[in-house]
Structures are given as C-alpha cells and as structure tokens.
Point group: C2
C-alpha cells in the first residue's frame, strides 16, 4: 500500500461522520451515496451490507442516521478497501465504529465461493448498492461498442442483485442507485426475486430528465411496483439545494418517508 494516492477526510451529515477517500480520482463519493443511504428506513434495525462500498460513504450514512443499524462495507478492490479501513478508523467516527465493519470480498462471486468469502445465505436484513457505472456507454461510440457495454452493464446488475437475493433473509430489503437507462436491467434482475419495488426518479432540476433512479424492493414478495414522485435536487435561479435534498444530505430525512 506504499503507492496510495493522496487522500482527504471530508465531513458528511453535518460532521456526524467522516470519509477518507482518494483526493484526485473519479471514485470520490457524494450525493449518490447519501441518496442511496436515505432509502433505508430510519427505524431500520438489523444487519445491512453495502455492496461495492468504496470508501464507505453510503454505509456510514446509514449507521449515522439509523441508530439500530449495523453495516458491513463489502469492497473487493484493495485500494478502495484500504480507504474504507481508514474511514472506519477515523477518530471522528469512533462513536459509529462498533456498528460498522469491513469485508473484503467480491459481490459477484456465486454459490460456495460467495459463502466462503463471508457472504453467507440469509445473513443480512438489507443490502444497498451503487454499482460502478460503465463510463464507455456514456460516450459517443459505435453501436457495437455501445451494445457490448450495455450487455456488460446488464450482466453486472444480474450478478449483483442475484448475490443480494442470496444473502438476504426473506422480506429483507434492497436499495439500488443507478442511471435511468439501467431500469430495465434492474427490474429484469429483480423479477422473481424481489417485489414491492418503489422507484424514485432523481432530477437535478425539475424540468430536466432524471439523472438517477433509486429502486427499493423486498425479498420474496409479489407486491406490485410503485413509481414515486421524483426527488428534485436543485431549484430556483440560484441553483440552491431543494429543502428535501438538503435534509437528505444532512442525514435528517429518509428518501421514502419511513
């Protein structure tokens, strides 16, 4: 770990937790992690896993807001796992430390490999995930490359959501933040595994297309899907945060009012 990049420690939830993360890369956590964390009900009590936790922003935001939550940061990339460890050991996070831990494991493992990696069946009450975007599919590119990226991204959701279903107890929850264009792949991967999906579109501005979706659902139910009112992050000519976005950023509100 001698070659680790420069890092920063940044306050979130108005200083209730701190995140240690690389200073100059594209991995830096922000609004997405806080919105994802807000999909966990405030009164959630139990064991949560953050799949692909990175430096730990979403998981720490859950334990910060939900007093009875325990979180396991699941990260396979050594460099990001190291930052997750630095986050957990940061002195300002001491009061949260006993409810958060790190598991270095690849969430795309299956079957016995997954169990051996520490991701046992029925071991969790809630899974949150912010799967890495495939940046290639955002760029202008020939149809063939774009289609390949599309298939890769679809396969990723299938792998991640299948693993989530395997490690969740019955009626356990899942929450995902992703780009709107992934909605089909997410719902296809949830089909037969999760029900009662609630989709929240996230718009930077009310009059523009959604930049993210949050999908929350429940293991082993067949309740119908709901499409919720959107979360609008910015409003007004001065581009300030909306009151709702401000409350989510501050760890003072859940996304779905529970």
């Amino acid at each position: 770990m001698a070659q680790l990049p420069a890092n920063t420690a940044d306050a979130f939830h108005r200083g209730r937790f701190w995140l240690v993360q690389p200073k100059d890369t594209g991995h830096r956590a922000g609004a997405d992690a806080l919105i994802l964390a807000a999909a966990v009900p405030t009164d959630f009590a139990g064991r949560l896993a953050d799949f692909g936790a990175g430096a730990g922003a979403a998981a720490m935001a859950v334990v910060s807001r939900c007093a009875n939550a325990e979180a396991v940061l699941v990260e396979s990339e050594p460099e990001m796992a190291h930052f997750a460890r630095l986050t957990l050991n940061h002195p300002q996070n001491a009061s949260l430390r006993e409810r958060a831990s790190l598991l270095v494991a690849d969430v795309t493992l299956a079957g016995e490999d997954r169990e051996r990696a520490g991701l046992g069946r029925n071991a969790f009450d809630f899974i949150i995930m912010n799967p890495p975007f495939n940046a290639a599919s955002d760029r202008a590119s020939p149809d063939v490359i774009r289609q390949k990226a599309h298939v890769m991204a679809d396969g990723m959701f299938e792998d991640w959501i299948k693993s989530a279903a395997a490690v969740l107890r019955s009626r356990g929850g899942i929450a995902i933040i992703a780009r709107p264009q992934s909605i089909g792949a997410i719902l296809a991967a949830m089909d037969g595994r999760f029900g009662g999906a609630e989709i929240v579109p996230v718009h930077a501005h009310a009059e523009r297309n959604a930049i993210r979706i949050v999908v929350r659902a429940w293991r082993g139910t067949r309740a119908p899907l709901s499409l919720m009112p959107p979360l609008v992050l910015h409003e007004g000519s001065d581009n300030r945060f909306s009151a709702r976005a401000e409350a989510i950023n501050a760890g003072a509100a859940s996304l779905l009012g529970d």
Copy 2:
C-alpha cells in the same frame, strides 16, 4: 349487432373530433387515450396504427392534431369495432374521415396469420397502444391468482410489442400507455427491438405515486433510455387540470414537446 348497448357521442379536442362509444361500460375512453395520442410528434407524417383501438379515441386524437398523419384503428372485438365504425362515420368527423380507417384484426396474431389479417411487415411508421389492464391484478387476491395475472399481463406486452416491431418500418415509433407496474414487462419486450425509450410518469397529483407511464421508443435503434419529468394532471386545492394536461386534453400540445 342487434344487441348493441346504448351509446353516446362525445366531443374531444374542443369539438374537433367526436367519439361514439358505449354508454354504461368500463370501455369508455378518456384521459389515457388523449395522453397516449399526445406522444406522437405534431409534425408526424405517415401511417399510424392504433393497436386495440376501441372506439378510436387515441387514433382520432392523432389525426385531429397531426395534419399529415393517417391512422388505422386496429380492433378485434366485434362490439368495439362497431363503435369504431360509428366513430369514423360520425358526421362531425367528416373532415378527418379520409385519414382514418378501421381494420378488424387481432394484434396478438403472429407470422403469416398476422400478415393475412392485414398487418403487413414494414407497413406502418408509428404504433400506439393502450393495452387492456388486467383488472384482477388490482384487486386484493391470493398470491397465486395475482402471480397468474402478472404473468398474463407480461405475456400480453410481449405479444403486442412483438407485433408492433414486426409491422413497423426501421426507425418507426411506438408509444404505449400503461400502469407503472408494467414498466418491467414493457422494457423487457422492447429489449433488442426498440431503443431510445423516453418514459413519462403520469401523476394525478404531484405528491402522489404515478398512475400511468407513457413509454415512447424507436424501432431498431440502440440509443439509451431517458426518464422524463412527470406529467402532473391536477394541481391546486380546487383539483383543476394543470395547464399542460389542459393543453393535451384540447389537442393543443404534444406530450414530449415535438
């Protein structure tokens, strides 16, 4: 046709077209048909089919607003086809009559059966559809019945969208209005056939869950999906139509601004 139920003739688009439909059944057309029709670009020029046209509200709304559109009302149920005929022959629709016709055919036919029924390959530039809801899945019911209804509804979208793909020219458009819970089945059926999907959530009120979605997409493209700002139908304490809903009801605006 001696046993036809009582009917009414109702003005739409501020009297620019009239609809003859049964008086006392659940088949009566309304806001859904007008919103669906609004998904067709105003400058659309070409041949459109309205799959499951009923009495013809959506198709007539298209020819009423889009001066260069021709519409084929495709309906298999004899009673509803009769009402479609009455609509086409209504004296108040005389100016639209030469751009609208009826085809009595089942859109779920496949292959040569579909072609023999008059739904030829590459025969259309745009398809609109408002597939019948399976009311059973809305009622409280045992999981088994609900799951069966779910599977039936999913199969219906696959059948209808597959037929639409077969009869559309390359780069032709499709627009569907449906319940939000059908979004997964719709996107699954579109996968590999249609691209560039634009989804518009439709909310009766801004603060409540969506009651409908409109999905518009294009045959044979691989452009990514967009989730658009919602259409909100009612606003204010007096529950009046929003300006946007009013314009759509009046045939004065398209849904997607084109």
